[in-house]
Structures are given as C-alpha cells and as structure tokens.
C-alpha cells in the first residue's frame, strides 16, 4: 500500500479519526491498522512476518532464563534465515552455479516461486536490534505482544524505515493512551507529509523517467550524459527515499510518535563519515552498533579498523539487494571511508589547518559529491557490465562537443543542488523560518502558496502509482 494511494489515505484518515475518538482502544486500533496495511501486500507474507515477530518476542522474554543464550541465538537465526531465504536464495544458488559449477535441477523453479516480501530487510533489522538490545540489557523485554507488534509493524515506517530502536520507540508506544490531539503535532505531521509528497511526486517521480532513459542506453551515453544521468539519479534516490522517511515522520506526528530522522541533506557532506551521518542514518547507525562495533570497531589496530569498516560497508551494500553491484557499491563506500580514515590519521595537519576554511569546505564537498556519484552508478546500473561502461564513459571525455543541451544539464543539476541547499538551510534555521512564516507572512499569502503546492501535486501525480525505490529492499 503506497502512501500516495487512495487506499492508504482512507486507511490513514480512518485510523486517525478512530485513534482520537476512542483513546482506550488505541493499541488494538494500531495493531489492526498495521495488519491491514501489511496484509494488503499478501496474507502469506503477513503470516510469516507475524510468526517471526512473535518468535522474536517470545525469545526476548526468555533471555534472562537459564538457557537465555539459546533463545538469543535461536531468535537471531530465525530472523537471519528468514531474510536469507526470501532475499538471497536466488543469489546464493546463482553464485554456487557460477563459481563452483554446481547447478541444482530445482533451482529455477524454486527461485521463481520466492517473492520478496515488502519491508523484510527493514523489519528484520529492527527485530534483530531489539533482540540484541534486550540481550545486552539495554532495554527491558516487551511484556505484551500487542505493544510489541505496534512497535515492530507501525505502518508509517514498516516498509522502508526509519529502522526504529526499542529504546526510542517502545516507551512511546506504551504511552499511546495518553497522547493528546495537539496543534503542534498536527502541524508538524502535515508539514512532513507535505514535504514527502513534494519530494516524491514533484521531484523523484519527475526525475525517474529521465534517469531510466539514460541508464537503459548505457552504451549510447557520452561523458556529459553519463555524469548528468548519474547526478539526476543521485537526486532521484535522495528525494524518493527521504520522501518516504518524511511521510513516516509526518504520520508518526499525527499519532503522537517521534520517528527518527533518516536524512539530513547528505550531499552537503565533505567526507564519508559525514555522509553516513546524513544518509540513511538509522541504517548507518544500525551497521555501526550491531556489526562494526561488535567486530571490534575502532578499538583494534588501524589495519583491522579499516578491514572492519570495509566488511561493514559491504554488508550494508548487500542489505540493499542480492546483486554484486550493491556489494561493490558498499565496498566502494568502504574504501572511501578507509581512505578518509588514512587521511585523518596521516594528514590531519592539513585538515587541522583548513577545517574552518570555507573554500576548503566547498572543495571537499564538491569532490566528495563527485565520488558519491561514481558510487551511485553501481547502485543504479542494469548490471555490472553497464556500470563499467558508464564509469568508463564518465572518464573517457568522449562525445564532447559544444552543444546547447549541456547548458540545460548544468542548469538542471545546479537547480537541484540549490533545492538541496535550501533544505539544508531550512533545517539549520528551522525555528527562525517557522517564526517568519507564521508571524510575518499573512494567512492569505501562506494559503496561496499551500494552494499552489496542492495544485502542483495533483498535476504531477501520474495515473500509475509509482512505488518507492527502497521498497525493493
């Protein structure tokens, strides 16, 4: 069920009205709404999700018992196997066949039958995080499955995050009965939902067909086309994914929940460390807390630290999809992080000298944005061969002859970057912007802008409801 579909808007409206009309049954209401929301994508997958959730819930309540360790590993194993089966069976069998030459006769028919349940990567990571947190005694196990289910399957973030932690979200769910209909909550809710709609419908869905055109014809691209297409994809994926996260935040506000921020204008980052604090933040922190740190993190030698970063980033890449291109994308970002760590360790005097220099910040941001874009080629290309063709095109400086269209390319990319900078600026001066907006601009002018936005959203909404990129993960 897509956020911009009629069905979802009806479900949201109905749940919202009932939520505030009948405070005593809120938990049951969200329990049911989450089931309906996920059930629409397939009853069989809903059953799998509920069973895995219940097993995790069951195990989490046995961790302090005599054989707690068994329950911990059993819980982990079930979650990992569930993800592995649905997401990686085809990939594993294909690579066994490719590298070991062992082909199973039932391989193709099995793979054809496996359909990836929506949101499986997200809910698996959320379940694992919860189980580990309970095991580490960072949080108390949830005593009610009703509460646990609302925490794990809240429809606003179930399909594509943010990946919520039990320590943040469960206490909010427990207090659900006390949530009051608040003016500021509704305002923030509508604000974030509107931002989500603008990002998804006006930007992401508008960029998608252009990117698809270019990427479907990798060999036909010249250097400028390859860079242009990849810049557009960088903005498409940002708008698309951050739109979902902002929908989630907005819907969360409507029900009195604070959802984690997942994006903080990532393309203003000047290095990998900053980038991962701005891009898909809840996944980055998950990888850090549940993979990188348990491996040893920064406590081991520099070489091992770099190795752990590389492994963690490759796992992050693989989480995105069962394709080598995603693993390469993760490895590429791992290498960027390793290079940055090396720079910090051995050339920190340069950084110290220029770190407050605006020009240095601009240059490093520009350079890192280009590096990020090279990585996006692996993420978007239709296979490794296409990715390599596009990368070669980017650096071959072929087919460059003065052409008016390059001016259009430049203007479009600069405008998109300006939109990104505007978002960055608004996030820094949010309170001042809000104050100016509500106090200095009269209601009739604000309303005119809202009305234009509504009209634009309607015009840009296409007949086919386009899905979110991250739904496939």
């Amino acid at each position: 069920m897509l956020f911009h579909s009629l069905e979802f808007l009806l479900l949201l409206a109905l749940t919202f009205v009932l939520f505030y009309s009948f405070p005593k049954i809120r938990m049951y209401l969200l329990f049911a709404a989450n089931i309906i929301f996920y059930g629409v994508s397939g009853v069989k997958y809903l059953i799998v999700f509920m069973l895995v959730s219940y097993f995790t819930y069951f195990c989490s309540n046995r961790l302090s018992a005599r054989h707690g360790k068994i329950y911990f590993y059993a819980g982990l194993l079930v979650n990992v196997l569930n993800l592995m089966f649905f997401k990686y069976t085809g990939f594993i069998l294909e690579n066994i066949d490719r590298f070991l030459g062992i082909s199973m006769p039932w391989q193709n028919s099995l793979v054809a039958k496996i359909i990836l349940p929506v949101g499986i990567s997200f809910y698996t990571f959320q379940l694992i995080a919860y189980l580990v947190d309970v095991w580490r005694k960072d949080i108390e196990p949830c005593k009610s499955f009703l509460t646990f289910w609302v925490f794990i399957s809240f429809f606003a973030q179930l399909i594509a995050g943010p990946i919520m932690r039990g320590s943040d979200f469960i206490p909010q769910v427990v207090r659900i009965g006390y949530t009051k209909l608040s003016e500021s909550r509704i305002k923030f809710g509508i604000y974030y939902i509107s931002r989500g709609f603008i990002k998804k419908i006006i930007f992401a869905d508008t960029l998608a067909p252009i990117v698809a055109q270019f990427y479907s014809n990798a060999a036909g691209m010249g250097t400028m086309d390859a860079w242009y297409a990849t810049y557009l994809f960088a903005f498409q994926i940002f708008f698309d994914f951050s739109a979902y996260s902002e929908f989630a935040m907005g819907i969360g506000h409507l029900f009195g929940f604070n959802m984690d921020v997942n994006f903080k204008t990532p393309y203003v980052s000047s290095n990998p460390k900053e980038f991962w604090k701005r891009w898909h933040i809840t996944l980055s922190s998950w990888i850090r807390d549940y993979i990188y740190i348990p491996m040893g993190g920064g406590k081991k030698s520099f070489i091992l630290k770099c190795l752990f970063v590389l492994i963690a980033m490759m796992i992050s890449g693989m989480w995105h999809g069962a394709k080598w291109t995603f693993i390469i994308w993760g490895a590429y970002h791992g290498m960027l992080s390793v290079m940055h760590n090396t720079y910090i360790k051995y050339f920190s005097f340069i950084r110290e000298k220029f770190k407050n220099n605006v020009f240095y910040k601009i240059v490093t941001t520009f350079v890192f944005f280009q590096l990020t874009n090279i990585g996006w080629v692996f993420f978007r290309a239709n296979g490794f061969t296409d990715a390599m063709i596009i990368i070669r095109k980017m650096f071959s400086f072929s087919n460059i002859s003065y052409n008016g269209i390059y001016g259009v390319y430049l203007v479009v990319v600069m405008l998109l970057y300006l939109v990104h900078l505007a978002e960055y600026w608004v996030s820094i001066y949010e309170i001042q912007v809000k104050t100016v907006w509500t106090t200095l601009i009269p209601a009739y002018m604000r309303a005119a802008i809202y009305a234009v936005i509504v009209m634009l959203l309607i015009v840009f909404t296409t007949a086919e409801e386009s899905t979110f990129i991250y739904f496939q993960f």
């Binding site: 009629l6 509704i186 270019f214 209601a443 005119a448 840009f460």
Partner: protein
C-alpha cells in the same frame, strides 16, 4: 485548532478560484488537436471527459450550427499518422476548401469497439452535443464474437455505467469476461467521479503533458534522435517497405484479424447488440458507418477465402435494411496507400477523407452546403 481555520478557508477559496480559472482558460489545443490525444487518454480513460467538455465549449464559442462527430477506432484516429494527417483534419480542410460551414470533431481512438462507440454517443448527449451528423468507423474483426472482442467494450465500461446503467447491467452480466471485485469497482467509481467533476483532475494529465512530457520529449529527441511519447515520431512507411509484416500477419496470434469463421449477426454478438443500440439511438439522424478496408494485397490469400467473403456479405446485409448509410471500403482503397493490414499512410487518409466527403455530401445534412 483556530490556527487552521483562517488559512484553511483561504486555501479552499484559492483552490475553488483555480478550478474556475482552469475551466475558463485552458486552451482547447492542450486537450484536443484535430483528434483525441491518445497518449494521454490511454493512460487514464477518464481524461476523455475533458475532450468532450472542450468540444462542447468550442461549439458554443464558435457558434457552430452544423458539425459532425467522427467515432471509431485506430482507422478513424488515423494511426500511425500525426494529427495533421488524420481524417478529421483533412475533412476540416476539405470543408474549408469547399466553402462549407460544417466542422468535424474526431473522437476516434485506437481499440474503440461498438460498445465504446455507443457509450461515446450517450456521453455526447449527456453534454448536449448533437449527434445529428455522425460518422462511425468499423473494422472487419470487430464483428468477431468472443476473443478478443468479448464484450465489444474496451475503454468505456465505467462511463457506460454512468450514462446507461440498464445497458451496462446487460453487458456486464451478459458479455463482460472479467469482472472486478466490489472494492475495485468502488475505487474506479470514486476515481471516475473525481476525475470528471473536479477541473484540476480533469485537466491534470494534459497540463502535465504540456509542462513536462513535451519538454522530456525534446530532451529524448536530442539523446535518442526521437521523442518518447509521440506515436507518430517514426516516418510513416507504406506496408510494402515493412518486411516483417507478411510473417506477422501469418502468425497464429493475428489470424483472428481475417477470420473466415462465420460471424454471428444477432444480438448475442455484443458488436451487433451495440450497433443495433446505436442505430436505434440515431433514428432520424444522419449516420454514416464505414467499414475500413483491409489490405487485400498483403492479405491476398486470406481475403479470398469463401468464409471471409461470406462474412463481408453478412456485414453488408446487416446494414442493408437499416436507416443509416453504410460504406464498405473493402476493395476501394489502392493497396499502395496502406501502412499495414488496415491502417493507411498520409495519402491514404487524405484519399479516405476526400472520398468520405464526396459520399457524405450526397447524404442529406452531413456535408451538404
């Protein structure tokens, strides 16, 4: 919640003003240019209502007293030619050349069947658009009962429900092969209502096309050498320059096009059911049906089969005693004018328009000066 009140009232006011402005100021060319904009309507059939509304406005603004509406499928639409080489365009040019005051509106659309045409006639009536002069294009395979013409209604099912519920029920329970669930029906009804009642929804795809897709097409034209969305972007070639056509037509999947199985010419055949309905509806009006010619050079073996010829005769016989004019173009179009088995090249549609004109001016009312 006081903070919402003032702003919300203003937003609602602006939105209402926008709706009025849209009705008043969207140029007809955005919605209709010599024919329906198929690329836009095919993705959302409810967009056809904006066309009908614009035609009504054009009739009022131009104070047209005599006009004719063309309904039909891809031949009437004039696939694969651009709009400025379509039947409607040529007929208007001829009308101007001949000093006639009659104006032609072409509402044909690829894959329109008898049921769609009947619904269009009813929809025109709903908008107060006269069908006193009506030209309808039919094709030979449209008379098949069963696959792929099970219900004889391809596009306009939801409209039929709206404009003639009784017939809809008969069709839905009698012929319709795939039935939607109640939820799908309810969703379609809501979508239909919104799309046809609120101006921004009525025009949104046209505005999007104008503001975005046309720009995208220009970009695609730069990159790929051809636009993406315009059907007629490729040069129109005659059929004999397409080597693949012969094999394509012989393919089993396409054999229905020239079937020699006997046509059922009773109301049990949805095409006949709807043709009878149209004829009944058009009683006392000028209605011209024309059967598009098949390319009898490309389909030489097939059109010479006895069964095919008998079917052709059945169609002629069907119209024999009807109160409408019927023109069967089979054998009357030079095979050099075809672009495939049934569609024509620019000169073909020009010829068809000229021929239609000479025939319909003999028919009282339609083209007469």
């Amino acid at each position: 919640m006081a903070f919402f009140k003032k702003t919300t009232i203003w937003v609602i006011a602006y939105l209402l003003i926008f709706q009025v402005l849209l009705i008043l100021f969207v140029p007809t060319a955005v919605v209709y240019e010599d024919r329906i904009k198929y690329d836009i309507v095919k993705n959302n059939i409810y967009n056809i209502e904006a066309v009908v509304k614009e035609i009504k406005d054009t009739i009022r603004e131009k104070k047209l007293l005599r006009y004719a509406v063309i309904l039909g499928d891809s031949v009437g639409y004039s696939t694969p030619c651009p709009s400025e080489a379509s039947i409607g365009y040529y007929l208007n040019e001829i009308s101007k050349r001949e000093g006639s005051d009659i104006y032609f509106f072409n509402l044909s659309m690829p894959s329109m069947m008898g049921g769609d045409i009947y619904t269009m006639v009813k929809l025109l009536h709903k908008y107060g658009i006269s069908t006193d002069n009506l030209i309808i294009n039919l094709i030979y395979p449209g008379f098949i009962k069963g696959e792929p013409y099970n219900s004889s209604i391809f596009w306009m099912k939801d409209f039929l429900k709206d404009v003639d519920f009784q017939v809809f029920k008969e069709v839905y329970y009698g012929f319709y092969p795939v039935r939607n669930s109640d939820l799908q029906e309810a969703k379609a009804a809501i979508k239909h209502k919104i799309n046809t009642s609120v101006p921004i929804f009525m025009y949104k795809d046209y505005l999007f096309n104008k503001s975005y897709l046309e720009a995208l097409d220009r970009k695609a034209a730069h990159f790929f050498g051809q636009p993406l969305t315009e059907i007629a972007s490729e040069p129109i070639r005659p059929w004999y320059e397409k080597d693949f056509l012969y094999d394509l037509m012989k393919h089993e999947d396409n054999s229905y096009i020239y079937t020699d199985k006997p046509f059922i010419m009773t109301d049990k055949n949805p095409q006949i059911y709807f043709l009878n309905k149209i004829i009944e509806l058009q009683k006392g009006k000028n209605t011209v049906f024309f059967l598009a010619a098949m390319n009898d050079e490309l389909l030489a073996d097939e059109v010479n089969k006895i069964g095919y010829k008998e079917n052709m005769q059945r169609i002629n016989d069907f119209f024999e005693d009807k109160s409408v004019k019927f023109i069967n173009y089979n054998g009357r179009i030079d095979y050099n004018l075809f672009s495939d088995f049934i569609h024509l090249i620019e000169d073909g549609y020009k010829y068809l328009a000229e021929d239609l004109w000479t025939r319909i001016i003999q028919y009282e009312g339609v083209g007469g000066k």
